[in-house]
């Protein structure tokens, strides 16, 4: 609910929070190149490691003759897959099942397999790899999901990859000593061939169909989209003796790796025996996206008793962040446009083993079907194992089903001749439940501002041409700000020598929340942003640990409470110290100048503008830095308040957003131009405007890329990735991305600090532009709407 329960949750005046362009310490480091990412760590006496990679989409290494490689001066060793070393590492806490860290079976082209060459330089590693005599057995592969549906097609995964041999047990389960996050329901059908299923049915589908006047069927297909890791994923590790930690060995690891606690778990070490000082990950997203090569450097370092570095190239880690998904939707609809039943039949790419399940299973509980008044919702997911590639973050960027609904509203609008905005209003349930018919304040506000921003004027498909002859199309989409902030957070602050210290591990997981938190601390203590000393320390308990920006704001609530605890203690100490008439101790006691705060209790005092002053007479003050000579600490842990207006996990209507666009379609060349792109977002309360705006820009970058440019191309004959590079795989350039009109609303209804929520990835979408192209042409074109596809859909080729 809005921040009624916390300290100053309903604060009206903000001096620091919400300001734009306040750079943090790490901002300077990144802008100046001082920041060190994984590939930047170079230490003395370092060895290098490179892994053999499969040239085939599916193959088994039968044997490797490493004698020629080992004969190369400078090649230290070739470690093969059956080496016991790979049993010395625990399970990666996040991600899919992984029997061992190096296997002799390759499940997609480019995956690490079979061998690691360790040498005195990276070049020697590569030379060693080329000298390996590898005997391959090529195996059947699936890169076409429809082919994978064939029950006669040979199984591409062995039984070791099945989630469970017994009943499906949702949650964390342990199989063969490995922890697996199993997201299947107990009564989901058992796997057949390369296909598994998971089904979820809410409400009464029969009743839903019976209440409908007609059925609307449509397809929403989404192709695989590749992530963009800005830095080469690399890690460097070495073991050392510590003068602090007794006889046990200590591990220092840097780069794009798991965070420290997870590394400690993987290597069976106490947290304090792991050093990880680098702040910048670069080569991973969140805790996802790690490759074997980023995690085994400690193993190799232990064996060779020297630091070991392993750095991947971009092509070697050109992994998918969104998997291919083919959705077939059936909506039961009344003649007025009210949806009475939703049936989602999806075919999803399960990817290669160890891919995340997020994009195949997890989304069924977490989508915008549940923003509807309609309670009859069936989701049947068919999940096909494939050799298309590794998907580490699928589902994290684009919630597929979210667009499946708004696409449906657009198609329904065309059928009924109604503005989809009105259909969205008709179908959205009220704040409290799916039976609630009241309007949702945040949604209504976002709609109104969006209409103004865009001069919104909907027209039926294919009915408007611009003066230059191009077709004009519009589209709208809404979304709730999602909620990942289910974690328990912790904050500790210290007032020492007149300065407030904020110890934190910093953005080790890729989130940059420190600046937000610092702003909140400064706000609550009446200080400026730069007054807070951010003490980056890998041993600190606090980290920018969140779960999307809504998590950052959720964690911000904890920080706010902690800051107010510290404030109360400082005032208490200041009041106490003001009563003293002497200073020093023993024979060194001296008279002390009377404090302006003398005679006042803590509750009589306030702090603002770097001063501690008497509320009733602000002319009586001491500088904040001289408030007390004591060292004062405060810590606070827990979760942020419960969300208002929630109907289940991830389903909240307290803070919402709308996206809008207009496009022009050249029906002779197939070119699409984005004429206008508008965002109206209600994050509840803006904490750090620069972060918010950047996040919106990133969402538009992603959305534009996946809908107009990006396509993951595999050779049909070999399953080899043809465009795993930044020339042939077309991420948008800065010249391509449109200027985004942004309106930020602050309805203060979120469940985090000051009623904030965070927009997280909710503005990233897969079909807003596609829907506008549909409105322009009257023809549905699956993304990416590249000129070739547009011309084909228009019958021009």
């Amino acid at each position: 609910m809005p921040d009624y329960t916390g300290a100053n949750g309903l604060r009206e005046n903000f001096r620091v929070v919400g300001k734009p362009n306040i750079p943090g310490l790490t901002s300077y480091a990144m802008a100046t190149g001082v920041a060190k990412f994984g590939a930047d760590f170079v230490v003395p006496d370092m060895l290098f490691a490179k892994m053999l990679r499969s040239p085939y989409a599916h193959a088994r290494v039968l044997s490797i003759d490493a004698s020629d490689a080992l004969a190369i001066p400078g090649v230290v060793d070739v470690v093969l897959w059956d080496d016991p070393i790979f049993k010395e590492i625990g399970q990666n806490p996040i991600g899919g099942k992984r029997p061992t860290y190096l296997m002799n079976e390759a499940h997609y082209e480019g995956v690490e397999v079979g061998a690691v060459v360790v040498a005195e330089s990276e070049h020697l590693c590569e030379e060693g790899l080329r000298a390996l005599k590898v005997e391959w057995e090529q195996l059947p592969f699936i890169i076409d999901l429809k082919q994978g549906l064939d029950p006669e097609f040979p199984k591409i995964r062995g039984p070791e990859w099945d989630e469970s041999e017994g009943d499906y047990m949702p949650g964390l389960t342990t199989v063969d000593g490995l922890t697996i996050l199993n997201l299947h329901y107990p009564d989901d059908p058992r796997k057949v061939g390369n296909v598994s299923w998971t089904n979820k049915i809410d409400g009464d589908m029969d009743a839903g169909w019976a209440a409908a006047d007609f059925i609307l069927e449509y397809d929403v297909n989404l192709h695989a989209v590749v992530s963009l890791l800005p830095n080469p994923p690399a890690s460097v590790a070495w073991w050392f003796d510590s003068m602090y930690n007794g006889p046990e060995k200590n591990l220092h690891i840097e780069g794009a790796v798991q965070r420290r606690g997870a590394i400690a778990t993987m290597y069976g070490l106490p947290d304090e025996n792991v050093v990880q000082e680098g702040l910048f990950q670069g080569g991973k997203y969140c805790d996802w996206g790690l490759r074997m090569s980023q995690e085994i450097t400690p193993l190799l370092s232990r064996r060779f008793d020297r630091p070991v570095r392993c750095c991947n190239t971009r092509e070697e880690t050109f992994d998918m962040c969104v998997n291919e998904r083919l959705l077939h939707l059936k909506l039961g609809v009344t003649k007025d446009g009210l949806i009475t039943a939703v049936e989602d039949n999806s075919i999803a790419d399960h990817g290669a083993p160890a891919s995340s399940e997020m994009g195949t299973i997890y989304d069924r509980d977490y989508d915008s079907y549940y923003t509807l008044k309609c309670e009859n919702i069936s989701q049947k997911y068919t999940i096909v194992d494939s050799n298309r590639g590794f998907m580490h973050t699928c589902g994290q960027f684009v919630p597929y089903n979210w667009d499946a609904l708004t696409v449906g509203l657009a198609i329904l609008g065309e059928k009924l001749g109604k503005d989809p905005v009105e259909l969205a209003k008709l179908n959205l349930h009220g704040p409290d439940s799916q039976k609630d018919t009241r309007p949702v304040p945040s949604f209504e506000a976002c709609l109104e501002e969006g209409k103004k921003l865009m001069d919104w004027e909907w027209h039926p498909a294919g009915t408007k041409r611009l003066a230059d002859g191009r077709l004009h199309g519009t589209a709208f989409r809404y979304q709730m700000c999602p909620r990942h902030a289910m974690l328990s957070y912790f904050c500790k602050l210290e007032y020492r020598d007149g300065v407030v210290h904020f110890p934190t591990q910093g953005p080790i997981a890729g989130w940059f929340g420190t600046e937000c938190f610092t702003m909140i601390i400064a706000e609550e203590l009446g200080l400026e942003f730069d007054d807070i000393s951010v003490d980056y320390d890998y041993r600190a308990k606090h980290t920018d640990e969140a779960g999307g920006s809504d998590g950052v704001t959720g964690q911000g609530w904890i920080v706010k409470e902690c800051a107010n605890l510290l404030k109360a203690r400082i005032l208490e100490s200041a009041a106490k110290e003001a009563q003293k008439t002497t200073t020093g101790f023993g024979p060194f006691v001296m008279p002390k100048m009377p404090s302006p705060l003398m005679g006042y209790a803590a509750e009589d005092l306030e702090m603002m503008d770097g001063k501690v002053f008497v509320k009733s007479d602000p002319s009586k003050f001491v500088p904040f830095a001289q408030a007390t000579s004591e060292t004062i600490t405060a810590d606070y842990g827990g979760g942020s308040p419960k969300s208002a207006w929630t109907t289940g996990f991830g389903r909240v209507l307290d803070t919402m957003n709308t996206s809008w666009c207009e496009v022009a379609v050249d029906d002779e060349t197939g070119e699409i131009e984005i004429l206008k792109y508008g965002i109206v977002a209600d994050p509840g309360k803006v904490i750090r405007r620069t972060s918010l705006e950047s996040q919106i820009d990133q969402a538009v970058f992603f959305s534009m890329g996946c809908q107009l440019l990006e396509e993951y191309v595999l050779d049909p004959e070999t399953g080899v990735r043809l465009n795993a590079n930044m020339i042939d795989y077309r991420k948008p350039t800065t010249l391509d991305v449109p200027i985004v009109g942004k309106e930020i609303l602050e309805l203060r209804s979120g469940n985090a600090a000051y009623g904030a929520s965070g927009i997280s990835h909710s503005l990233a979408n897969s079909h807003l532009l596609i829907t506008a192209i549909y409105n322009a042409t009257g023809i549905w074109i699956d993304p990416p709407a590249t000129p070739d596809r547009v011309l084909k859909a228009l019958g021009k080729c």
């Binding site: 043809l722 350039t733 000129p787 070739d788 084909k792 021009k796």
Partner: protein, 323 residues
Amino acid sequence: MRAFNHINAATLDGASDALKRGGAVALAGGGDLLGALKDDIFPTYPKTVVNLKSIPELEYITAEGDTLKIGALTTLADIARSSVVTENADILALAAGRASSPSLRETTTIGGNLCQLPRCWYFRKLNNRFDCARKGGDRCFAVTGDNRYHSVFGGAVFETAPGVKRTCVAVNQGDLAPVLTVLGAKLKTTERVIDAGDFFGVGVLTATVLNCGEILTEIQIPINGARKSRYKRFAFRKSIDFPVINLAISVDGENNYRICLGGVAPVPYIAAQAETLLAGRAITEELAEKAGLAAAEGAKPYEANSYKVQLIKTLVKRELLAF
């Protein structure tokens, strides 16, 4: 990138000799070669890289009489910025200014641009993954594979070994090739002078007719005040991308048109039928449309690249109407 010998050539003769010794490749701006070396796409890794940039006086732009002369090592950025080029061959400046990306244009050269190897993704796949005909192998993988960016006017047939003929359907995607072709440029090498229209060819690891050790030294463009010209680049992105199709058209004072397309055939494609249709006639909407159709005449696209035929028709028509 693997280790190789690096020679800073002091003279053209020295460079030519080094290249003739075998296992050597020429380095101009490096825009094409360095990526190829890094990706290890060659069937046999070059032993020697011969740096041509160390040869003096191959980087210049000058108008001499009725000829615009550009040294082969002149960067695309310098060409794009040159008022001499803009005044005498404006579409060359335009094309040079749109190629590649702003930073790469500062290092890549006109000579390198003209000699670049095809961008076919089978040819360019890491670690020589596809031993294709263009590398001396037996087949062109694009013929049966994903050929959305490949030729719509058939493949080039060439010898991979004496008496062994193979086909390649990769296209020439250079930004400058169609421009120089329609401007009637001549390309001077260490051995001869070649018409731009005859300069491009298809062979094992080459996209030109240059002999082993033959080095392009100068581009000579006739200056013709009565000539008008246009250049159109069609790419999916506004930067970085190679053109999917590019088109250059020139017309002299007597309505004689030269039309050349890139990205549609293994070598720059001269739309001869359209040129004939247009000869001596003033452009009308109907004529421009017919010329577009004529330019696409004879196209035999694959299913995945038939859009290029539509683009040829549209772009030729529009550019003619824009004169």
